[in-house]
C-alpha cells in the first residue's frame, strides 16, 4: 500500500455498505486494545510492513503478526464472522 499514492483515497472512496456498518466498525476498532489497534492502524493506513511495525513499536516481528491476526479476528468477531479466539490460539504467540 502506498501511503502517498492512491491506495488510501481508493479505500476512502469505498465506503462500507451503510452508515450503520461504518458506525459498527468504528466502534469495533475503538474497542480494540491499543496493543491491537496500533499495528492495525500502521499497517492499514500507514502501509508499513510487519518488520517496520515491529521496529516502530519496539516489538518482535512475531508479536506484531500475532497482534495483527488478533486485531482482525476481533473485528470479525464483532460481526459474528469468526468464532471466539480459543485459549490455545491465544497462547500460541506472545
Amino acid at each position: 500500500m502506498d501511503i502517498e499514492g492512491q491506495a488510501i483515497s481508493e479505500a476512502a472512496d469505498k465506503e462500507p455498505e451503510s452508515k450503520m456498518d461504518r458506525e459498527l466498525l468504528y466502534n469495533a476498532i475503538n474497542k480494540l486494545d491499543a496493543d491491537y489497534r496500533e499495528p492495525l492502524l500502521l499497517q492499514v493506513i500507514g502501509g508499513f510492513s510487519g518488520k517496520e511495525i515491529a521496529e516502530i513499536l519496539k516489538l518482535n516481528n512475531n508479536t506484531v503478526m500475532t497482534r495483527l491476526f488478533r486485531a482482525r479476528s476481533k473485528l470479525r468477531q464483532e460481526f459474528n464472522l469468526d468464532p471466539e479466539l480459543t485459549e490455545d490460539s491465544a497462547k500460541h504467540n506472545p
Partner: protein, 255 residues
C-alpha cells in the same frame, strides 16, 4: 488442506491480507473458500481504512514514529543509491499523521452517531425519572457540602475540587445513578438562571466527541473528559456554556 494447514493459512492472511507469500496465494487460487477468505480480509481492510476517519492516533504513537531518526541524506547518498528504510519511516509517519489528522477533522464535522444519540436519549430519560427528587431537593434552600458531594461522587471515581469556582454555585442535589447499565455515575444539580442545571458525571467514555442533545424541554451537552464524560442538562433557555467551564475546571478524576 488439513486443519493445521488451514490455521496456518488463516494466521498469515489475517496478519497481512496483502501477503505475497507464494504458498498462500497458490493455496487460495486452488481453493475458492480460501480465496474468499483472502478477499474478505482485503475487503475488511478497505472498510477499516474508510472508517478510520474517527480513530485518534494512540497516545505516544506519533512520538514513537517521529522519534525514529532520519538518516543523514549526504551519508545515505554516498553509501547507497536507494533511500534507507528509516528515511521512509519518517516520510510515511508524517503522511500517516497528516492523513489521520485530516480525517479526524472530517469526523468532527459529522453529526452525532446513532450510538451518541441513543446515549443522549438515555440521559434525558434519566432526568425525567429523577425529576420529582430533583424538584423537592431544589425546593429546599439547603446546599450540600463538598465532603458530602465528594462521598457521592466517589461512586463514579471523581470528586469536586474545592477551588472556589463553585462558591456562588453550590450543589443542591447529589445522588449516585446509573445512566448506562454497569457504569456508575453521579447526578448533581445546581440552581441555574432558568431552572435546575443537571450535571451527570460518568466514569467511562461511551461517546466519541462532544455533542448537544435536546428535547422539547431540555438542552444538553455531552462533554468527553479525561477519564469519562460530563453531561450538562438545563432548561432550553439556560446558558450551559458557563457551567461547562465551571465544572470542567472543578471535576477531578480519582481513579
Amino acid at each position: 488442506m488439513d486443519e493445521l494447514e488451514f490455521q496456518k493459512f488463516k494466521k498469515i492472511v489475517y496478519a497481512d491480507p496483502g501477503t505475497e507469500d507464494p504458498e498462500v496465494l497458490q493455496a487460495a487460487r486452488a481453493n475458492p473458500e480460501l480465496q474468499k477468505l483472502v478477499d474478505d480480509m482485503r475487503e475488511l481492510d478497505t472498510s477499516v481504512a474508510a472508517t478510520l476517519s474517527g480513530i485518534p492516533i494512540p497516545a505516544g504513537l506519533a512520538e514513537n514514529l517521529l522519534a525514529i531518526p532520519e538518516v543523514d541524506t549526504a551519508v545515505a547518498a554516498t553509501e547507497s543509491p536507494a533511500p534507507a528504510p528509516r528515511y521512509h519511516y519518517y516520510a510515511l509517519a508524517a503522511c500517516l499523521i497528516l492523513a489521520v489528522g485530516i480525517t479526524i477533522g472530517f469526523n468532527l464535522n459529522r453529526g452525532p452517531t446513532s450510538s451518541n444519540l441513543a446515549f443522549g436519549d438515555n440521559v434525558l430519560k434519566h432526568i425525567y425519572v429523577d425529576v420529582d427528587l430533583l424538584n423537592s431537593a431544589m425546593a429546599e434552600s439547603a446546599t450540600m457540602t463538598f465532603p458530602v458531594v465528594n462521598q457521592v461522587m466517589a461512586n463514579a471515581g471523581s470528586r469536586l475540587n474545592d477551588n472556589g469556582l463553585l462558591q456562588n454555585t453550590p450543589v443542591r442535589f447529589a445522588l449516585p445513578c446509573e445512566v448506562i447499565p454497569s457504569f456508575q455515575s453521579t447526578h448533581l444539580a445546581v440552581q441555574g438562571n432558568a431552572g435546575t442545571v443537571n450535571i451527570i458525571v460518568i466514569n467511562n467514555s461511551p461517546v466519541n466527541g462532544e455533542f448537544t442533545i435536546r428535547d422539547d424541554r431540555y438542552d444538553g451537552i455531552v462533554i468527553p473528559m479525561d477519564q469519562g464524560n460530563m453531561i450538562l442538562i438545563g432548561e432550553r433557555n439556560e446558558d450551559l456554556d458557563q457551567y461547562k467551564d465551571l465544572f470542567s475546571d472543578s471535576i477531578d478524576w480519582v481513579i
